[in-house]
């Protein structure tokens, strides 16, 4: 099986969907001639032509609005928003139009919004956010946060098939850093099915996106101290695999939630609340969260490192929970 980077896996997935289904097209700023800000759609214009690879004006609301309209007309648009930060500009089209359309009129809106997200490369406050939690609060949207190349491709195929608006958060810091085996053939990965990154008995660690790697490093470090952490990569937040978390917590009775998004009203709060509601009598320690502080992402590399949860932060929390 060939090895592909996270970025190549997304690119291959996109190409495969476009080859498989003529209704699928991409649009976004610089996705055509330039090949996308991160070169995810490099070569697409040559292969699929300007009718299916559309360079959009510098207007996120136009991109999402155009995608929503074409979806209503029967197409399967995949819109790239250069940085997930700028989805804020399209808030109205995403939240008020696309998310509500099915409930108001009974018509599906099968759009995929590709949202390069996350920090770790000194992108500063406008190019480093992880805004997935905000959209989990909006009924009608599906939220996907792949961590591995394999999941990136499989979840993209599922997103294209899904009749609802899907926000596909691809982590920029993983693009070229992470490489793994990815099948050439098409496959799908169901939404709402978590992946066990690492099995363990002492503490359950729930996370997603780039934090999966931070979690894995921390768990590896604690193995030598005799602490066995079970890492659950949720893969999708809406829907999220509550059953997997409940099953793991029934075993470990201790839960740590880790995310790169800010702490207050982050999706970790939702997981913690539901676990308390449904598994209170399974808990042997307070549920812990590790998240970014409630500030914008700093530009300075030193501050950004202090801002984004680090391996030692996670290791410390795992240790404390194990000892509790």
């Amino acid at each position: 099986m060939p090895e592909k980077t996270y970025l190549q896996a997304i690119s291959d997935g996109l190409r495969q969907e476009m080859r498989r289904d003529e209704r699928v097209f991409v649009l976004g700023e610089d996705v055509g001639v330039y090949g996308g800000a991160f070169k995810v759609t490099a070569g697409f214009l040559d292969e699929f032509g300007p009718w299916r690879v559309i360079d959009a004006p510098l207007s996120e609301i136009a991109i999402v609005g155009g995608a929503t309209g074409s979806a209503l007309m029967g197409l399967r648009p995949i819109a790239e928003l250069q940085f997930s930060d700028f989805v804020a500009c399209a808030w109205d089209q995403v939240v008020t139009v696309a998310a509500k359309q099915h409930f108001r009129a009974g018509t599906p809106v099968p759009i995929v919004l590709r949202l390069p997200s996350g920090g770790g490369f000194s992108g500063g406050p406008f190019h480093s956010q992880s805004p997935e939690s905000a959209f989990t609060h909006v009924p009608g949207l599906k939220i996907v946060c792949p961590a591995t190349p394999h999941d990136a491709k499989g979840l993209l195929a599922t997103a294209v098939e899904d009749p609802n608006p899907v926000l596909y958060f691809e982590h920029k810091h993983l693009y070229r850093r992470i490489k793994a085996e990815v099948p050439d053939e098409r496959y799908t990965i169901p939404f709402g099915k978590a992946r066990i990154e690492r099995a363990g008995d002492d503490v359950t660690l729930v996370t997603w996106g780039a934090m999966v790697y931070t979690a894995a490093e921390a768990a590896e470090a604690l193995q030598s101290e005799g602490v066995s952490a079970e890492i659950i990569d949720l893969r999708t937040l809406q829907p999220w695999d509550k059953r997997a978390v409940l099953e793991s917590v029934a075993k470990t009775s201790k839960l740590l939630i880790l995310h790169e998004d800010t702490r207050t009203s982050g999706f970790g709060a939702e997981i913690a609340a539901q676990l308390v509601e449904e598994a209170f009598e399974q808990l042997d320690a307070p549920i812990r969260r590790i998240a970014a502080p409630d500030t914008p992402v700093p530009f300075s590399p030193v501050l950004e490192k202090a801002y984004i949860p680090q391996v030692e932060d996670v290791a410390g929390a795992l240790r404390e929970l194990a000892e509790y």
Partner: protein
């Protein structure tokens, strides 16, 4: 807006080495007024028993830790509400909005109280209920001794294991759990002091090579001088002059010439002290233990100073006013069981010291006296036995008895001019 301040009463740090204390008695009840520095409760640590003064004036709002509970130093044991405030009172409807911003205070105080070692997590509570288990019987490995899920599951597994092996013909030993009082026996938990004494006594016997020597001392001179000085000391200084003060003075003078008795063994080395911190054993009423307060730099005290110091530590020990510093750093101990008529004892050395002197009852005895011309006569004399237990690892028998001979000579030849 209701203004109120809550003061946490915490288990005090009674000396550097003390990590926990037991609440013996609350002197105030919930809702009672208390003045700043007024005695609030009695505590017992492994060093001393003492009263804890109130850190503030106000109302004792809530007693968080009950009598008999042992808690770590710094643990909140009660809350005092100052000046007119009420403790975590129900918000009154008309003032609810006003009170909201101040509410974090009582909430924080409550959560502090809830995170102590008796915390039972939801999963442990459920498992305990399902198996009808008493958590008191399970030792906890969690934070602060908390029983964790793993602890309780291990306990269940251990208690079920023998049942699974009933095919084994050999009878299983009866598991020793908690002893229960039967046949009218009374069961009580050891006090902190008793546990500490038990440990210390055992450790001393396991450490030192105990040997005891007994000397008879003719106290005629001391008796005469004491009867003359006693009223004067009492009237002019308010000090009770006891025989113990004389023995202590004589001992200290002799220790200067026999320094290894004022020493300790530290590893492979002998530490000889340049000062004498004299410990006086004081029994608590009703057999409730023994404290050994220290008279620091006792070598600088004359008879009056010694008598006053002995009286001071004795009074403070019996009224539980000692501080941990009062019971640390001793270099030599005198114990005084003779008041009840005992004539010989084999005291246990107060570690890490190497000797302890025991003063026995003053008893009139017929003794043979040899006069200047070598003529023997029988005379009735006040005799006190002094028993010295010494650590034979460091102190040879000859060394010990020469020291004792000097103490005896010092007491027997006590002159009028000597203070």
């Amino acid at each position: 807006m209701v203004t109120q301040t809550q003061i946490d009463v915490v288990m005090p740090q009674m000396g550097v080495s003390v990590s926990e204390g037991t609440i013996v008695k609350w002197l105030k009840g919930e809702g009672e007024q208390v003045l700043a520095d007024e005695p609030l409760l009695e505590i017992s640590t492994d060093k001393v028993d003492t009263e804890v003064p109130s850190p503030a004036g106000g109302v004792l709002g809530r007693i968080v830790k009950l009598e008999g509970e042992t808690v770590a130093v710094g643990t909140t044991i009660a809350l005092i509400t100052t000046a007119g405030g009420a403790l975590a009172e129900e918000p009154k409807p008309e003032s609810a909005a006003e009170r909201a911003p101040t509410s974090p205070e009582p909430v924080a105080a409550q959560s502090t109280a809830a995170t102590d070692h008796v915390f039972v997590s939801p999963v442990v509570a459920r498992i305990a209920a399902e198996h009808s288990l008493d958590l008191e019987l399970i030792s906890g490995s969690g934070r602060g001794g908390r029983v964790t899920k793993k602890d309780i599951l291990a306990h269940i597994a251990a208690s079920q294991a023998p049942e699974a092996e009933t095919v084994v013909s050999e009878p299983l030993p009866v598991p020793v759990t908690s002893s229960a009082a039967t046949n009218g026996d009374r069961l009580e938990t050891m006090s902190q002091m008793r546990r500490s004494i038990a440990e210390h006594m055992r450790r001393s016997l396991d450490t030192a090579a105990h040997a005891t020597t007994v000397f008879e001392v003719d106290m005629s001179s001391v008796v005469a001088i004491r009867s003359r000085l006693k009223p004067e000391f009492l009237e002019r200084h308010g000090v009770r002059l006891t025989y113990l003060a004389f023995v202590a003075r004589a001992t200290i003078e002799a220790l200067r010439n026999w320094p290894w008795l004022n020493a300790e063994i530290r590893g492979q080395e002998i530490v000889t002290h340049s000062y004498i911190n004299l410990c006086i054993a004081v029994a608590m009423d009703g057999g409730k233990g023994l404290v050994v307060p220290t008279i620091r730099n006792a070598e600088g005290l004359n008879l009056l100073g010694m008598a006053r110091a002995i009286q001071d530590v004795g009074d403070r020990a019996r009224s539980r006013q000692l501080t941990p510093d009062d019971v640390e750093g001793g270099t030599f101990t005198i114990t005084n069981p003779g008041g009840h008529g005992s004539v010989v004892g084999t005291p246990i050395i107060n570690q890490p010291q190497v000797a302890i002197l025991d003063t026995e009852a003053l008893v009139k005895r017929p003794v043979v006296i040899t006069d200047d011309k070598g003529v023997d006569a029988i005379s009735v004399r006040p005799i006190m036995n002094l028993c010295l237990s010494f650590d034979h690892r460091l102190i040879d028998g000859a060394y010990a008895v020469q020291f004792m001979a000097e103490v005896r000579k010092s007491l027997e030849s006590w002159g009028e001019e000597r203070y």
